[in-house]
């Protein structure tokens, strides 16, 4: 991609140890270079600020130094976040420049509050933002210890990527699966029993909120879950609650946390402008504009020719408003929800017609009401007021709610969807604590969303006489790539050559490093996997194969595979929802037929499995598409980590490729860091070595693992976390030099235009 355009000269410019004046140099860097850098900086917390940049430059010394720095950064961050982890974790207090005080145990939030300067730290931060736990740096740190021993970070990063894409899913699918428990009491209907939900939530809140409150908050959440969900509600409800949780909670400071409760209906964070007690059949409408007609609307002109005209129009406005409110009254509308401030006139006539009014609703509140009731805003009829009001919803009740001498509007909305509206009143001594609870609740709903979805696992296995293992795939492919005519020295091929070189001799120092963005690596690896059937054909039929055709080929292949994946995915998920059996789908590789003389045009055809197996003698790649069914959980307390550790070690012993063995072992050992933190303060039989030994023994003898801790956690969340960590790691490893630019951050748009001139 960007790689091609970066000439040797520019690379030299960058690698100069000291710029005499860095600012002008950077000002005139070609556009291309910047756009290549941008993906690296994009993750920084403030777009447009380029205080720190990371570029990769040849030179093992610089890289070694930066690795050291990265290691230090990771160590420091680990120290901070590790104290928040687990049931024994503690709080961190953050102050904002505005004077606000925040409490948090959320890794992402803390790292954000730190305003990290180091780009590696920022990279970590970007990951934790969306992640479920804050253990990233712990992993990184442990990995880092291993990096010290081997300088070939670049190579490792590729192996890591392969691991993430292939091995992880494979191990999850083939080994870990048998340990999974399901949260659903019956898999078909996806019903959740209260007991298991409590275990799951308690374990979740254990790491989120203050130590004294997690039981209470998880009970509260559990109640909320069962109160809001009807039997057929699904993921849609989680999405709705997840989106609108801020509107569904009311924070009350000054009261003890134990005063938090759930109330029926929906609470608006404001008071009535007019309150007229009403009972029975209450209809409500939402308005988004002032009901009172105005002299002139936007873009129009109102010409006043006489005083009488003015008086008449005033009179008409009054009469019109009166008529509209009367009309609403006659239609039994007793509650008017307005997103804007209504004029005094409207308020007055509303009161006369005993219509309660709530003004200045936020757009979020309006949209939530609309989502719950399916109500659309009331449009003022243009002429006659005879028609029925279609856009009105029924509410059960509508009354003021007084919490800590502040008044709120409490409406008993009748839901038209599967969500039964309830609100959570969160109490706490300080706002920070309430916010923490709110964020934890939000996180819990996100976790549910993921838990109810399940994960698709796809990996490739190669069933070949010589190569059983997975990672040999790349090696093999690359080797075959190597047979490609040397005439095509296009850039697409160069990475392949590199990989080949690396595979051939691990210890050999590389002459040239190529700057490969992670993204590019991904696509190349993908490409590589498809070459087995492609390469021989190229050789046999086509000796004048040029770079161009290869380039023309790759997008199409990718496209075709995308389609295949889609197909099989839908297939496998359909199957896996009904039964848990793993569906292995191996299907035909892409059969590429070369039409001679057509140059770069390469039609791609997809053929059925049996035909392929009958005619093909080339190494056969098996694609396994499987999925972890929704609702998979494991007991807490490092269960997942110890299991994965054990199976990774086991797997690594079967690997023939030494680098894969090594990566698996690194990750297996790094995983242990988490249970180590969790059991840090425990003594005796609950100390980490004891727990670890017991678990390993149980696994070796095929006994069920016993857990001394109650609580469950979602497998899907863990899987995603691990994937993100590995991706982050890959990225960090690809960086080998950090360049600090002491210039004011600039708007990128300005710079673009400047450069084009």
């Amino acid at each position: 991609m960007h790689l091609r355009g970066l000439s040797q000269q520019q690379t030299d410019l960058l690698s100069t140890p000291q710029f005499p004046a860095p600012v002008p140099n950077f000002r005139f860097l070609p556009r291309l270079f910047r756009s290549w850098l941008r993906p690296l900086c994009r993750r920084s917390s403030r777009p447009g600020s380029w205080r720190l940049l990371a570029v990769q430059i040849p030179g093992p010394m610089a890289a070694l130094a930066s690795m050291k720095v990265a290691l230090q950064v990771a160590e420091v961050l680990e120290a901070i976040v590790s104290c928040c982890v687990g049931p024994e974790g503690r709080q961190v207090l953050c102050t904002k420049p505005t004077g606000e005080v925040l409490l948090s145990r959320d890794g992402g939030r803390l790292l954000e509050a730190l305003h990290l300067e180091h780009p590696i730290a920022r990279g970590l931060h970007a990951i934790t933002d969306k992640e479920k736990d804050c253990l990233i740096s712990e992993n990184v740190q442990t990995h880092g210890k291993h990096w010290k021993n081997c300088c070939q970070w670049k190579f490792i990063s590729q192996a890591l990527l392969t691991f993430q894409m292939q091995t992880l899913d494979r191990v999850m699918d083939q080994y870990l699966r048998r340990h999974f428990l399901s949260i659903f009491s019956s898999a078909k209907e996806r019903t959740v029993c209260r007991n298991s939900l409590e275990l799951l939530l308690e374990a979740y809140f254990c790491g989120r909120v203050g130590r004294n409150h997690h039981k209470f908050i998880s009970q509260l959440m559990c109640d909320y879950f069962f109160k809001c969900m009807s039997c057929k509600s699904g993921i849609a409800v989680f999405e709705l609650v997840g989106d609108c949780l801020r509107e569904l909670t009311v924070g009350v400071t000054g009261l003890p946390v134990s005063d938090s409760r759930i109330i029926d209906g929906f609470v608006l964070h404001r008071d009535f402008s007019v309150y007229c007690p009403a009972d029975g059949d209450i209809r409500t409408v939402i308005v988004t504009e002032a009901i009172q007609p105005l002299f002139s609307t936007s873009g129009s002109e109102f010409i006043l020719n006489s005083e009488a005209q003015f008086q008449t129009s005033q009179f008409w406005i009054m009469e019109r408003t009166k008529a509209i409110m009367k009309h609403l009254h006659s239609q039994n509308v007793k509650l008017l929800l307005s997103s804007v401030k209504q004029p005094d006139l409207v308020i007055y006539y509303a009161e006369l017609n005993s219509i309660s009014v709530v003004e200045c609703l936020s757009p979020e509140e309006v949209s939530l009401i609309q989502r719950i009731t399916g109500l659309s805003p009331f449009v003022l009829p243009e002429a006659s007021l005879q028609c029925e009001i279609a856009n009105a919803a029924l509410v059960k009740f509508c009354k003021p709610l007084i919490l800590r001498s502040k008044r709120y509007v409490h409406i008993g909305l009748i839901s038209s969807c599967t969500f039964i509206p309830h609100c959570i009143i969160l109490c706490g001594p300080v706002q920070g604590l309430i916010e923490q609870c709110e964020n934890a609740l939000l996180g819990a709903f996100k976790m549910f969303q993921e838990l109810f979805k399940g994960i698709d696992l796809n990996y490739m296995t190669q069933e070949n006489n010589q190569n059983d293992t997975l990672s040999s795939l790349i090696c093999k492919n690359s080797r075959e790539n190597n047979q490609l005519p040397e005439t095509g020295n296009g850039s697409v091929q160069r990475p392949h050559e590199d990989i080949v070189e690396k595979n051939k001799d691990k210890l050999e120092k590389m002459q040239t490093y190529l700057n490969i963005c992670p993204k590019l690596v991904v696509s190349n690896v993908k490409l590589g996997t498809y070459t087995p059937c492609l390469a021989p054909k190229l050789i046999t039929t086509d000796t004048f194969q040029t770079d161009e055709t290869l380039k023309g080929l790759s997008p199409e292949i990718n496209k075709a595979t995308d389609d295949c994946e889609l197909l099989t995915e839908s297939n496998s998920t359909a199957n896996s929802t009904t039964e848990n059996t793993r569906k292995e789908m191996s299907f035909e590789n892409l059969q590429v037929t070369k039409i001679a003389g057509k140059g770069s045009m390469l039609p791609v055809s997809l053929q059925s499995l049996d035909r392929y197996t009958s005619q093909n003698t080339f190494p056969q790649t098996m694609y396994c598409f499987s999925s972890i069914p929704a609702g998979c959980v494991l007991p807490v307390g490092g269960h997942f980590e110890i299991l994965l550790h054990y199976y990774l070690l086991k797997y690594s012993q079967t690997c023939q490729q030494s680098e894969e063995t090594m990566v698996s072992m690194i990750i297996a050992n790094a995983l242990l860091g988490i249970p180590k933190i969790l059991y840090k303060s425990k003594k005796g039989s609950h100390s980490f070595p004891q727990i670890y030994m017991k678990a390993i023994h149980a696994l070796q003898t095929n006994q069920p693992l016993v857990s001394n801790q109650m609580g469950l956690e979602s497998v899907a969340g863990k899987h995603q976390l691990l994937t993100s960590v590995l991706q982050c790691l890959t990225k960090i490893l690809t960086i080998d030099l950090v360049i600090t630019i002491k210039r004011q951050p600039q708007k990128t748009d300005d710079q673009d235009s400047e450069d084009e001139l």
């Binding site: 600020s49 009054m318 006369l352 004011q744």
Partner: protein, 570 residues
């Protein structure tokens, strides 16, 4: 572009509570609040070096809102207390001292925060369940058919605020006024749920305290000139009232987003004025006697009203609108015409009143839950303090209606509670230990820290170097002069316990509060004759004190739980 500055990295500190500086600042705060506590507490004078007026106070709400704290931990503490005070009005100092003391005491035990927090929570629930239980020996049910307990409660609040500068007689007077004002806000024919009215505090700064009074209805301050001009127009007997929310000044506020073009020669002023006069005519024909307007009335309209013997008062302000509409039974009018007759209300009478140099219109309602509390005090700062105190007292009375109990004051609840916990932990530690996670020694240590926290809180009521004793029967608080000769003659030296419920003539044995003594079983039943007859008890609001206890322990737990402090220095 030059304003765009790079963000500075934040400052991150580990284990904040172990730092000497944090301890010192906490200690300073503790010193400030402790010295304010109780009837003999010292006053604090707060003044800003840049100007503004000087505030003399001993109340937590005034003190903490004016004190600017910088350290995040102190910020958490003060915000928590302020939040508590906005909820309950009372017991702010109690909460602050308890929180500071608790942090200090449990830190001395040297246990891990996890254990401390867990046990603190257990002890707190022990306290709350005891205070809420029927067997509680420091709680008195409130008898609303008699004013005695309520008066004691109000008087205790007044005496505990020395910055109000009230003499004993003044305290009695103000106490009675507050209770009267409160009773006036209770509706006479209460249905299933009561909606309390409002007592509006009217400042009479510079007047004597003894001149303070309570009037039913609403007072509207007015200049003498206006009063002389308006009053002759008044008709005798009940008056018909119209209350306007909208402005009657003839302004055209909202004409829409488009443009309005006025042709040459068209005078909008006249057109609007015509509308206003038409409105005036309608009001006159509807026999309205009193027109009140939140905003401004056009002078021409005013003149029109006065010629038709209608009293018009404008610039009422938004705060008085709700009480006015309640007291007069009007619907605030938002239209310049077509007024529904149902919007009008009425008042029994309208008379003028003069307090000091100020003139008021006094709207006497037919039947309403709105009253005006006119408060006087010598100077501004003392008046501010008195006003806060009155608001607190009224709020406390309101809270007492919801939970009809009061707690014994004067330090007795604290010492009693401490004795209860000591005994409970000594005799039945299983209830807490069965939960697992801590040993008996840890429990003993924390319970001791918790109890001594409560006792030192009670002890901070004493500012004059006196000794504090506790009896071994009820666990109440007794204070004795600093230079008492010998412990033998204690019944003679002591008169009454802190709350005033027991006297020293009973067969009691005492010991120093700070000394270590063996846990003893408490006599928990309260003597009914003592509660019934005593009219000089010191009492505390049940709801506020319970809330304060919870807030203090929760906040202390929160602070103890902090492992890092990240300060954003931007």
């Amino acid at each position: 572009m030059s304003r765009l500055e790079a963000k500075k990295p934040s400052l991150c500190k580990k284990e904040p509570l172990t730092s000497e500086r944090v301890r010192a600042t906490l200690c300073v705060l503790k010193g400030i609040v402790t010295s304010c506590y109780g009837p003999s507490g010292r006053l604090k004078q707060l003044h800003n070096g840049l100007g503004g007026y000087v505030c003399t106070t001993s109340q937590s709400s005034a003190l903490l809102s004016k004190l600017s704290v910088t350290h995040p931990i102190l910020k958490i503490l003060t915000t928590s207390v302020q939040n508590h005070v906005t909820c309950f009005s009372d017991c702010g100092l109690f909460t602050t001292i308890l929180c500071c003391n608790l942090i200090e005491h449990v830190q001395r035990t040297g246990l891990t925060p996890t254990t401390i927090i867990k046990l603190n929570k257990h002890l707190l629930s022990l306290c709350t369940s005891y205070l809420k239980s029927e067997a509680c020996g420091c709680r008195i049910p409130v008898d609303f058919s008699r004013t005695q307990i309520l008066l004691c409660l109000v008087r205790s609040i007044l005496t505990s605020k020395p910055a109000c500068m009230l003499s004993g007689k003044e305290i009695d007077h103000i106490g009675a006024l507050i209770l009267r004002a409160f009773l006036l806000t209770i509706p006479e024919n209460a249905e299933d749920h009561i909606i309390l009215g409002k007592s509006i505090i009217v400042p009479l700064k510079g007047q004597r305290v003894i001149e303070s009074t309570v009037l039913p209805g609403i007072l509207i301050e007015i200049s003498e000139v206006q009063l002389i001009r308006l009053l002759p127009a008044k008709k005798p007997g009940p008056l018909k009232v119209a209350l306007f929310r909208t402005s009657l000044s003839g302004d055209l506020s909202d004409t829409g987003e488009g443009t309005v073009v006025v042709s040459d020669g068209v005078s909008l002023e006249n057109a609007v004025l015509d509308l206003l006069i038409n409105l005036g005519k309608q009001l006159v024909s509807d026999h309205v006697d009193l027109v009140l307007c939140q905003k401004v009335i056009h002078p021409s309209l005013k003149r029109f009203f006065s010629t038709h013997r209608v009293i018009a008062i404008d610039r009422i302000g938004v705060t008085l609108m709700e009480p006015l509409s309640k007291a007069t039974g009007t619907q605030p009018i938002g239209a310049l015409g077509a007024i529904s007759p149902s919007s009008y209300g009425s008042v029994e009478d309208l008379c003028s009143a003069k307090f000091g140099s100020k003139h008021f219109f006094h709207l006497v309602p037919n039947e309403s839950t709105i009253c005006s509390l006119l408060l006087g005090n010598r100077n501004d700062t003392a008046w501010d303090e008195l006003k806060l105190t009155c608001q607190t007292a009224v709020h406390v009375l309101q809270l007492t209606i919801k939970e009809p109990w009061v707690l014994l004051g004067g330090g007795c609840t604290e010492t009693h509670l401490a004795a209860y916990i000591r005994y409970k932990i000594h005799n039945e530690p299983e209830s807490i230990l069965k939960d697992g996670g801590c040993t008996q020694t840890e429990l003993q240590l924390i319970a001791e820290a918790f109890c001594s926290t409560l006792e030192s809180l009670a002890g901070s009521l004493e500012h004059d170097g006196g000794e504090i004793l506790t009896d071994m029967k009820y666990g109440h608080f007794w204070s004795v002069q600093a230079d008492s000769p010998s412990p033998v003659n204690w019944p003679g030296l002591l008169s009454r316990c802190g709350c005033g419920i027991y006297n020293s003539q009973e067969e009691l044995s005492w010991c120093f509060l700070r000394s270590t003594h063996h846990p003893f079983a408490l006599e928990t039943c309260l003597p009914h004759e003592a509660v019934g007859s005593a009219n000089n008890l010191t009492l505390d609001c049940f709801t506020a004190k319970l809330g304060g206890l919870q807030a203090a322990v929760e906040t202390a737990n929160l602070i103890l739980d902090l492992s890092y402090v990240i300060e954003d220095k931007n």
